[in-house]
Amino acid sequence: MAVTIGVDVGGTFTDFLLVDTETGEIRTGKVPTTVDDRARGFLDGIAGLGIKPDEIRWLVHGTTAGTNAVLEHKGAKTGLITTEGFRDVLELGRRTRPYAYGLSGTFTPLIPRDLRREVGERMDAKGRVITPVDIEAVVAQAKALLAEGVESLVIQFLHSYVNPEHEIAAARAVREIWPNPYVVASHEIVREMREFERGSTAAIHASIAPIVSSYIDKVDSALKAQGFDHDLLIMQANGGMAAAPVIAEHAVHTIMSGPAAGVLAAAELASLAGYDNVVTGDMGGTSFDIALVTNGVPLITSEKELAYAMPIRIPMIDISTIGAGGGSIAHIDKAGMLRVGPESAGSYPGPIGYGRGGDRVTITDCNYMLGRLNPHAVTGASGDAPLAEIETALTTQIGTPLGLDAVAAAQAVIDVAVADMAGAIRLISVEKGIDPRDFTYIPYGGGGPLHAVAIARMLNLPRVLVPRYPGLNSALGCVLADVRHDFVQTINLPLAQIPAGQVDEIVASQIQAGKDLLAREKVVVNEVVLQHEFELLYRGQSHVLRIPAPEGAFDAEKVRLAFREAFLARFAIELPTMIPVLVNVRTTIIGRRDRISLADFTPKGGNEDAAFKGTRRAWFDGAWCETKIFDREQLPIGFVFHGPAIVEQSDTTLILDPGTRGEVDALGNIIITFEERAA
């Protein structure tokens, strides 16, 4: 057997996807996430797939353990040793406030002030020593922090991205006395300038490393005890994986890895279907996540903020979130305007339709009201959705203030939510310099396919591709991911002033570090791929532009030309008199695994009769319409159908408005295109 399992542990549910490349078999599973002991739910879920651990070849795991620990300030007790005069960098941030308007709000740094200690040490911006590092003081402060019960430690000195020697010496000394592996120097996490951003990234890492690594150890050893003797791989935010043996030092890369895996899967599905440019929309219970894929590759960023004043500078698949999910609450504001979200009923009490005591109108409730969601098959509930209750709530909370009946109110809520989601996609595209007009829209998550057609129509996108398992996209991404590590180092010199050989040396050391890492991970890979990128700007600017490094040894002139071309393409401006500056050198090392071909897993069987489940009254274009309902599991390849139609499957519901055409492609995706509306 050649079994690969992808596991995505979300906040509420843990999803499993098993693929067997020999038999072409696919199995899926879903269990509640066991927040008290995440490993238990994980292992139960594996058992539930009907497979023994010794039959598993690859097991890839995406986890939110780290993300949640950071956002809820429930990380390990973490301390900081830093340059004298700078212990408050993490608390001062960059002089911001949470919102442009309003002066209230609070901020609590991940490491409290009493656990941030200073030692004598200083480099200048060129990496020359001004004050040698006082190692005795470093050790004394480390001991003092241990006595305070600190478990995890960050060592961060100013300008360590240029010259990390002081950090290296201090870390070496501390590691000799520290009782666990959780000591990190900031340059080991991200070798980039900007003390607050580098420090914040290191602090996020340190506060979750013990949590992530003890969790992975637990899962790994339990699996091993049951006979699993291959690689446990962990999904990272960059869309690649790292192996269990190195996870302690890569903990920060697990942040937001689940959503990243989902985008990766979407990119892969689209490429297979022949579409290289994609917008993804992942709609869950509380939020809507947007990402862009160009030429088959998800856009990557290193400039995210996890929360207010909590930047994280690791390469991540660039995902933007707005507060629009199935549980988002609709309300009328003080100006009498209809608003949807960002407040959410969450999964508890959740929408009114879930019958768990929720009493405020949510997007999900509106979908019940309009007949789009099946009221007899409510997620996680045994009873039907209480339609009368929903209607009353819609009337009193939304309809009456706007002069609408319950149905029109429900449609209004959906329309506003769709406009919000489409608007967010538009702005994010503009920000990235992308015109999404010919992009394929890939919706997933439980709510994605419900509104996909409306969103695509609003943005004039030519087609929607609905994956076969929209609810399992992140688990699918885990199945498909390769091993991947990223390295960055700041140079920040005008191209003309870079000493000969410096860039090539940096690149060589990044390659070596990558190869060493792959060797330690012991993952069997077929091929090692290296990618090198430069980030540049014109002196005086603040925003860097990332370009692929020209082939061969570093040649300033070639880089200058490549940058000029990229700048022209992005901003339509040529600036021949400006001085180009090379800010960062980046290397990515990818260890490609055996390629899993999704084409091996095309759906088999099914026919129109078996797929047709009957009709339901649903509201489209201002009228009730007896709408055909199809069972996704039974749709045969090549099946063509037309909206209005509803396609149901265990993890989601797809809505085709009138004027659309759906077709099941050879991979089991449903491709939706727009037709001229019938008069």
Binding site: G85, F86, D88, V89, E91, L92, G93, R94, R95, T96, R97, Y99, A100, Y101, G102, L103, S104, T106, F107, P112, R113, D114, D124, A125, L158, H159, Y161, M193, R194, E195, F196, D333, K334, A335, G336, M337, L338, R339, P401, G403, Q411, A412, D415, V416, A419, D420, G423, L427, V430, E431, Y538, G540, Q541, S542, H543, F571, I573, L575, T577, M578
Partner: protein
């Protein structure tokens, strides 16, 4: 609830279209903001977001929409600016024209904020004006960067540009460009900023055309009117919750930079039903130094203050309709030619807002906060670095503590209330300039005590490593700390201390001073103000008090 019921009966537009068009207009502005920021050369724009883009009406320039990511100070300024352009230039404008203007007396701030205004035509008919403002690093004048603290007339502050065409029929007017660039420092990069501002207007033109195409001209027109009336309704509903009465408060400026005496912003707020009037007529007379405020900035400061108190009111002219700011003629808050005004948008505006906060804290304490540090903390340093062989000019802005508020302590190192810009990292400053920061820390003991204490200011020391430099300061709250409210204590005042060749001293004007000559090894210590406290200190939660002790916040 009543207000809602009333509006719903008049509303003829369907509620979805209304919300969607409102958001669509917002998005047009945000798109312009993004294009502007990403292509700018001025670090003040690209890093500090010191720019604003919006859509304005053809009659009087009233704000139809403005980007939420724009710098707050431009909230009320832009519509005044567009109004001036309409009055003076409307009949000469044709498709493809763009006006450039920076005159403070014509709906402006300081000279560094350069505005561009472009008529927008839909199917050949004038529909609105698109406009933006961007802070240029220099517009000439007696000091690099424009923040002179000793200017006594506008002509010392820089180049004053009346509304003239910088683009005509889609073609750059090279005469004007050359003329402007010849009069400012580091002019090579400004052509990039000119292009960035025009590119933003063009992006707005495309996006707005698409929006009107989609919904139709009549529908969009109806929505614009309705959205404005809704915003007004919302602001009126907020004001209705404020008990009627007259609430007075004062805020003090340390000095005008020339005459070392405090200036008073004296405010009487009259709340009556759903309207509110701001009267500054008791304020100090016009001053000699550059701490005068022009009318557009004075009015805008009041608007920003109200928006900080009621942040959810949408940004359009309706938001301001219930707010009447009386023109404070004869005071330093109504500067007329040729009064110098360099300090108006960065500092005087924040004192005006402070007076608004302090007055309304007396009326609706449950929605207010104590005074924030309220200074942009400008430190500029120019010099020559022998290591690089280059001249440099550095602008450094620092934050301060926010006031305690109704349910929590103030934020430490918050941005000025008129800005949203981040401070620059020490590592970047040390790369660019021959400087060594020896300390960049929370300023212990700076927070005003209270049930909810203020946030802390910043305490930094900056040492000149090489060559010679000239330092200037334009800060505030050096004489008096940001006031506490409801029995809360004041935050610590701003403090500047220079150490030049072993002599330690403070600037005569405390928070302001110009052209201090530094030599290698000399240093500057700055402590920025802490926020005022909210409520009496003895009511503070004992646990919070213990935490403050443990964390060493009191020093």
């Amino acid at each position: 609830m009543n207000a809602i019921a009333q509006t719903s009966t008049v509303a003829a537009i369907d509620p979805v279209t209304l919300t969607v068009v409102e958001k669509g207009l917002q998005q047009v502005c945000t798109e312009m903001d993004l294009v502007h920021e990403k292509t700018s050369f001025s670090p003040v724009i690209s890093e500090a977001y010191d720019r604003s883009n919006g859509i304005y009406g053809i009659q009087d320039g009233r704000m139809i929409s403005q980007g939420e990511t724009g710098l707050p100070i431009f909230l009320g300024v832009m519509q005044e600016c567009v109004h001036s352009v309409i009055k003076e230039r409307a009949e000469h404008l044709n498709p493809g024209d763009v006006i450039i203007v920076n005159d403070p007396y014509r709906g402006g701030t300081h000279l560094m904020d350069v505005k561009m205004v472009m008529p927008f035509y839909y199917k050949g008919k004038l529909w609105c004006y698109l406009a933006n403002a961007g802070h240029w690093p220099d517009t000439g004048g007696m000091v690099p960067g424009g923040f002179s603290t000793t200017a006594t007339e506008i002509h010392q502050e820089g180049l004053r540009i009346p509304p003239v065409k910088i683009m005509e029929g889609g073609v750059l007017v090279q005469d004007i460009v050359d003329f402007v660039l010849a009069n400012i420092r580091v002019s090579e990069e400004r052509i990039g900023d000119i292009h960035a501002q025009i590119a933003a207007l063009r992006a707005g033109e495309r996006a707005l055309t698409a929006l009107i195409d989609r919904y139709g001209l009549d529908v969009v027109n109806d929505c614009v009117a309705e959205i404005e009336s809704r915003a007004e309704t919302m602001m009126r509903a907020h004001i209705a919750d404020i008990p009627d009465g007259v609430y007075s408060a004062s805020a003090f400026i340390d000095s005008d930079g020339v005459v070392n005496e405090p200036l008073e912003v004296a405010l009487d707020v009259t709340v009556s039903g759903t309207g509110i009037t701001f009267d500054f007529s008791r304020s100090s007379k016009p001053c000699r130094g550059p701490l005068n405020s022009v009318w557009a900035t004075t009015q805008s400061a009041v608007f920003i203050g109200m928006k900080h108190i009621f942040p959810n009111v949408p940004m359009n002219a309706g938001c301001f309709a219930p707010l009447t700011v009386l023109r404070p003629k004869g005071t330093f808050l109504y500067a007329e030619y040729p009064r110098p005004v360099a300090g108006c948008s960065a500092e005087v505006s924040q004192r005006i807002m402070e007076a608004v906060f302090l007055a309304l804290a007396k009326a609706i304490p449950g929605k207010l906060f104590a005074a924030p540090a309220g200074t942009s903390g400008n430190l500029s340093l120019g010099g020559f670095d022998p290591e690089t062989g280059e001249h440099y000019i550095m602008y450094y802005f620092s934050g301060g503590g926010y006031g305690g508020w109704w349910d929590g302590d103030g934020i430490s190192n918050g941005c000025s209330t008129i800005g949203i810009s981040k401070s620059q990292p020490v590592e970047i400053l040390e790369q660019r300039y021959p400087l060594l920061f020896e300390r960049y820390a929370l300023r212990e003991g700076s927070a005003g005590a209270g049930q909810f204490r203020g946030g802390m200011g910043v305490d930094y020391r900056m040492r000149l490593l090489r060559g010679e430099g000239t330092a200037s300061f334009l800060m505030e709250h050096g004489r008096f700390g940001p006031p506490g409210v409801l029995g809360g204590e004041d935050g610590q005042p701003n403090r500047i201390r220079l150490n030049i060749q072993g002599r330690e001293f403070e600037p005569e004007h405390l928070s302001k001073g110009e052209n201090f000559r530094l030599l290698e090894g000399d240093y500057i210590d700055v402590g920025t103000p802490g926020g005022g406290g909210y409520g009496a200190a003895e009511d503070r939660d004992p646990q919070a008090r213990t935490a403050d002790e443990r964390l060493g916040y009191h020093g």
